[in-house]
Symmetry: C4
């Protein structure tokens, strides 16, 4: 099966997720600069989530670039990833509106961790169809960054109940680490 | 006529339907775990609807894969299917917010049944253009699963007024049955 | 310039317009059948608007099928059409919520008329780039149906202030006339 | 890397941005013409923002038309542009609802200026990958219009606190100047 439609559908869903988050930035009633201040936590969370969803789109783009065949298991693994990403606007709102209190901060991490695990499962489903010795396997390597991210999320979730500000810093640092595009796959493509 | 644009348009509409449902998961005002509890029915319905819309996208993807020509009747049969799918967010919300009371549970089933019938009509419109002896006819076969689903929906609709919990279980079981991708079409493609 | 992206962008905008209208169908708080009744006018208007937007997508699909080149003027004529279509959800809501009172019914017609004029201007912009003797000119013909539609809309707008129910009937009849796909273009493609 | 998916994703995000703005045009409760009047500032701002987002889509379309290769830096420069464009619905609402008071008018200009700078950075990222002597460099030229626009925005932002109406006029004039498609790139394509 071709990969065009699964790419197009994923692009559509991710484009909507990244854009509807801005609907939660409700314009304040007053028209002074001070009226914008209460929006600051929501706005900062919006930026963080925008980067995360952007990172997923970027990695998804790179991942499917080295892929040729798509089977039923990949379709479902992909929908599973999109499901967890679709919850990002919800946890963004909850964390932003509650000014980074413990539970919302923890749940934000849970959704990030589940999305990371879903992405990992997607790479496994693709590998199962392409064989361990394919270009894809070389491109993914041991995926140290992916595995460390999940560890970081789990650590941040636990920390949410003690120091939510540190959890938030961890989410931000992991996002920045991922901002650097996946050179491994780019190198394989160049070769 | 080519099938690229009808696929792209359907992908767009389905991507929006599957994503805007999450807008109904309104972040609660409190920031405790207990504040999330009232959202549980809406969240469970969201998962169910996400799977259903995902199933339709998957089957739509498989269906158009074995199709070559698109005529006017297919365009309208496809829009008719998208119309019923577009009502999924509405019935999802109504059933979730009313905690699976009779009428919302029944209406959810009506929309599922109408979508299934619309999908059937779409396959008929495609068959009419490709001839009964085409690859498509072989792939669709007698469509026992599709027909049994409609029977299950009708049964669940009637049951909504007596045992809505059982209706809900039927919707969930049918969704899980469909999670298994349509091997018939995949087999025809492989051959 | 290629036409792929203008088609993809138009498909995206039209897919969003046709889908976000359902967000206006707000689930009622009660869970009885009677609680759905107040939604009836909004639901009927939703069906009417769904058909109209579907008709525009269908005709847009047919139109660009016989087109080869895209220039600056076509890009803007297309955005102009999308602008008027983007107002359909707004007038749908206003007319539906106000139970077909004069002004909302008239404004609904104004948006339909402006969209029809915008579509006509788009065909002119395309003709200007392809020459009067092209396949496109043959396919469009004298466009009697398009011109009569505008006349019908103008008549219905005037009538809104006296007999809004008749205006609504006119909108519905014009929609049904357009449900029949544009055989003229299909004939030219077949030849 | 191919450019198809980055184009498709950008088309999706821009299509959503341009369409969800209309959700802010909330249908009034009354059904008289007078009930529409309070919406006039929001509607005018909607038209202005629709033109701006349309201009960005048009220029993006032209820009990627003369581009062959896409690397990691371009993916991020493009997401950066989409981020600022995603804030257009927010500032549109704030400015429209507050009837062009100083701060909202200034913030509208800030988002326009940041989007213009992001677009400039995107052209730099593309130039860095294609070399200064490529078709792209010839097409972009010295980009006088782009640089003058940023100057105009900065001037309008400062003026917002004294004469917001003049700032608004500047935004409108810049939009109209950009309505004229980028002939430079079209000329290079024709050659």
């Amino acid at each position: 099966m071709g990969k065009t439609r699964i790419e197009a559908f994923s692009d559509g869903v991710v484009a909507i997720i990244i854009t509807i988050m801005v609907l939660e930035l409700r314009a304040p009633h007053g028209s002074e600069l001070d009226d914008l201040l209460p929006l600051a936590p929501t706005f900062l969370t919006y930026i963080l989530s925008f980067i995360y969803v952007g990172v997923y789109w970027n990695n998804h783009h790179h991942l499917f670039h080295v892929v040729q065949r798509i089977g039923g298991s990949v379709l479902w693994a992909n929908l599973h990833l999109l499901f967890w990403l679709s919850l990002v606007p919800f946890v963004t709102r909850w964390m932003g509106e509650n000014h980074f209190t413990p539970w919302p901060t923890a749940l934000y991490g849970v959704v990030l961790a589940m999305a990371a695990i879903a992405y990992y499962l997607l790479t496994r489903a693709l590998l199962a169809q392409h064989g361990e010795n394919a270009k894809l396997a070389a491109a993914l390597g041991r995926d140290v960054k992916g595995k460390l991210s999940v560890v970081a999320y789990l650590f941040a979730i636990a920390l949410s109940f003690v120091l939510p500000a540190v959890s938030l810093a961890i989410y931000a640092i992991v996002a920045l680490v991922w901002l650097i595009p996946d050179r491994r796959i780019e190198h394989v493509i160049e070769r």
